[in-house]
């Protein structure tokens, strides 16, 4: 068990114009489940591989517990990794795959057999110990990859998109299994994914990366409720938050004729250090459908029914000089969805708007 500490860790591949990971500062507590998330190519895998010792650290340091591992080879780091493609040893059966690290470490045959059997029991793999990986289903292979990691009882688990090769249904059940297993073992875990549902449901904390830079690191709730900048606001949440540029007015912010309530404090901060141009965000669930004489009238372009929820994609014409259109997504009562082409009236609830500086993208507190 150990903490993990990235201290300005940087990786710059030769011949690329910017670092793949740029001075990463992260502290992961003992036993914590940290999720690294971000769009493809943002540097998630590179960050994880720096911790595992599979990638050079060009600047900064990586520490596990009290040990500076920056220059240590992988085998001295006591880390187990679950690869996206599992990387099972194809010439060994399941038991040998899981016991390989113990064998290399010179443990006794009895101890290896016992620990492999315990892990197999935990993962429901007892019936497959004699099989080669090619005789297993995708889900079973994934569990063997997990088993190979937990048999070792390492200081840290590293997982790089371990669920992305499973079908949707299996992914959901395995997701909860991995989270439960990690809580039970209490092993510090760094988990890479591009799936925000995985990030939100599994992580104690989530670090969102973009272009090699951490945009925000916090609990899933913090990222959802108080996104630090426009990128986080747009990335977390599905359907995405409505983000529109607007102008500050006396009552709030005006986006093409729709007035969105903005707290007085945010208005004051934005007005004092800017030109009044802000980006306003509000989630689909922050919108109410109201009566005809209230809110703003918009035309329904699409209704997306998901069973428990329904989302209404609407558009309205800008009232003023610029004759563009504004699209807004609203969550609606799935029991009485409006029809396509119908006109609805939208109003954004107060206290549920986010204001960002258009110039820097940073959140304006309020």
């Amino acid at each position: 068990m150990a903490t993990v500490h990235y201290d300005g860790a940087t990786r710059w591949y030769q011949g690329t114009e910017r670092p793949a990971v740029d001075s990463l500062d992260l502290r992961i507590d003992d036993g914590e489940f940290l999720v690294l998330i971000g769009p493809s190519g943002c540097g998630k895998s590179t960050s994880l591989r720096m911790l595992a010792g599979l990638e050079d650290v060009d600047a900064g340091r990586v520490r596990i517990g009290e040990t500076d591992v920056t220059a240590l080879p992988p085998k001295q780091r006591d880390i187990a990794m679950v690869f996206q493609n599992y990387a099972l040893y194809p010439h060994m059966n399941v038991a040998d795959n899981m016991g390989f690290a113990l064998k290399i470490a010179g443990r006794s045959k009895d101890e290896i057999r016992q620990r492999v059997r315990d892990a197999a029991q935990l993962l429901d793999l007892e019936d497959y110990l004699d099989r080669k990986p090619k005789a297993l289903s995708g889900g079973q292979r994934q569990r063997v990859a997990m088993g190979r990691a937990i048999v070792r009882q390492p200081q840290v688990f590293c997982m790089d998109e371990p669920l992305s090769n499973l079908d949707a249904k299996l992914r959901v059940s395995t997701r909860t299994q991995i989270a439960a297993l990690q809580r039970r073992l209490g092993t510090t875990t760094v988990y890479v994914t591009h799936d925000q549902v995985e990030a939100m449901t599994m992580g104690d904390r989530v670090a969102l990366l973009d272009e090699g830079v951490v945009q925000q690191c916090g609990t899933p709730r913090e990222l959802y409720e108080r996104p630090a900048n426009v990128f986080v606001a747009g990335f977390i949440g599905s359907p995405a938050m409505n983000l529109r540029q607007g102008r500050l007015t006396e009552h709030g912010a005006d986006i093409g004729g729709m007035t969105v309530p903005v707290s007085r404090q945010a208005r004051a901060t934005a007005a004092s250090d800017g030109d009044g141009a802000v980006t306003v965000g509000f989630r689909p669930e922050a919108i109410d459908l109201v009566g005809e004489d209230e809110g703003v009238a918009a035309t329904v372009t699409l209704v997306e029914e998901l069973g428990s929820d329904a989302y209404c994609y609407t558009t309205f014409r800008e009232r003023e000089s610029a004759p563009g259109e504004v699209d807004v997504v609203a969550r609606i009562d799935p029991r009485k969805p409006p029809a396509k082409g119908e006109t609805v009236h939208l109003r954004v609830r107060p206290d549920e708007t986010h204001v960002f500086s258009t110039a820097t993208g940073a959140r304006i507190p309020g």
């Binding site: 595992a52 010792g53 599979l54 080879p73 992988p74 085998k75 780091r77 880390i79 187990a80 990794m81 690869f83 493609n85 599992y86 990387a87 099972l88 040893y89 194809p90 010439h91 390989f100 690290a101 290399i104 470490a105 080669k132 990986p133 090619k134 005789a135 297993l136 995708g138 292979r141 190979r148 070792r152 090769n165």
Partner: protein, 277 residues
């Protein structure tokens, strides 16, 4: 496809296979039949297909009339050691070029390929001078070095292709499981490259076993001459002792066929199946 059509197809395919086999094997049958004829029958006119008197003794006699044992020993040593040398040198080269991106990597691989384009015959004079300068004329070392060198390119390429096809994550997993670079190579990568190694071994061994031109140029005594050169002794100035020539040739084939029959089982494909999704 209807059942009769499927049957028809199967019969036709089998017939074709037999026909091809027949064409390939015919020279060997001819060799065998000739090897079993007495000397007088060889030049009979018209020639008969089957021997009139079967001389099975030719196969024993041939060991006495020429030092076949020595030739065979030389061939085995030369082919065996040049195979070991070629594969031992090709393995690290192939591994490094498959795993590392370095300046000149493509160039190196192309250069290796280019060396394959020279026929040994074209190089034989140069090789002879080189070995003369090194004082290696009429030694095993000369033939082992030359045979290994000629087969290095093929071995390097086939092993390069094999190492490239083994996912690098397997080695990374082994490193994290506590292996050093060499240990990961020995325990994970090499076992998966076995079909490539076997292919390189078979190819090199057979080519070295059959090599003639260079051996003819570099050796002059039965102590070092391989079988390919040795049996030319049966080609005299005035007559050719075909029965012994063919008997010795057939003897030379046996060890190679035996080796192939044994080693072929390791040529299984799809060894890496199931490792990565």
């Amino acid at each position: 496809m209807t059942v009769p059509a499927a049957m028809m197809r199967k019969v036709l395919l089998t017939a074709c296979a037999w026909l091809v086999a027949l064409v390939v094997l015919a020279p060997y049958v001819q060799m065998l039949l000739t090897a079993l004829k007495p000397h007088e029958e060889l030049f009979a006119s018209p020639p008969g297909y089957l021997p009139e008197s079967w001389q099975f003794g030719n196969f024993l006699e041939v060991w006495r009339v020429a030092p076949i044992w020595e030739y065979l020993r030389n061939t085995v040593l030369i082919a065996g050691l040049s195979t070991v040398l070629a594969v031992a040198v090709a393995l690290p080269a192939a591994y490094y070029t498959a795993r590392r991106r370095f300046r000149g990597r493509r160039m190196f691989l192309l250069l290796v390929l280019v060396t394959q384009m020279f026929a040994p015959t074209a190089l034989v004079i140069g090789i002879h001078r080189e070995m003369l300068a090194l004082g290696l004329i009429d030694t095993y070392a000369a033939l082992i070095l030359v045979n290994a060198a000629f087969n290095l390119a093929f071995s390097t390429w086939i092993l390069h292709a094999y190492f490239s096809s083994i996912p690098v994550e397997l080695e990374e997993a082994a490193w994290l499981d506590g292996c050093g670079t060499l240990q990961a190579l020995l325990r994970v990568t090499l076992p998966l490259a076995v079909p490539g190694v076997v292919t390189a071994v078979i190819f090199t061994f057979i080519t070295a076993w059959n090599e003639f031109v260079v051996a003819l140029t570099l050796t002059s005594t039965p102590e070092t001459q391989p079988l390919t050169v040795g049996i030319t002794a049966f080609i005299g100035q005035y007559e050719v002792q075909w029965q012994y020539l063919f008997a010795a040739s057939l003897i030379a084939i046996v060890p190679v066929v035996a080796l192939f029959a044994y080693i072929e089982r390791f040529l299984v494909s799809g060894l890496t199946a199931g490792s990565v999704k």
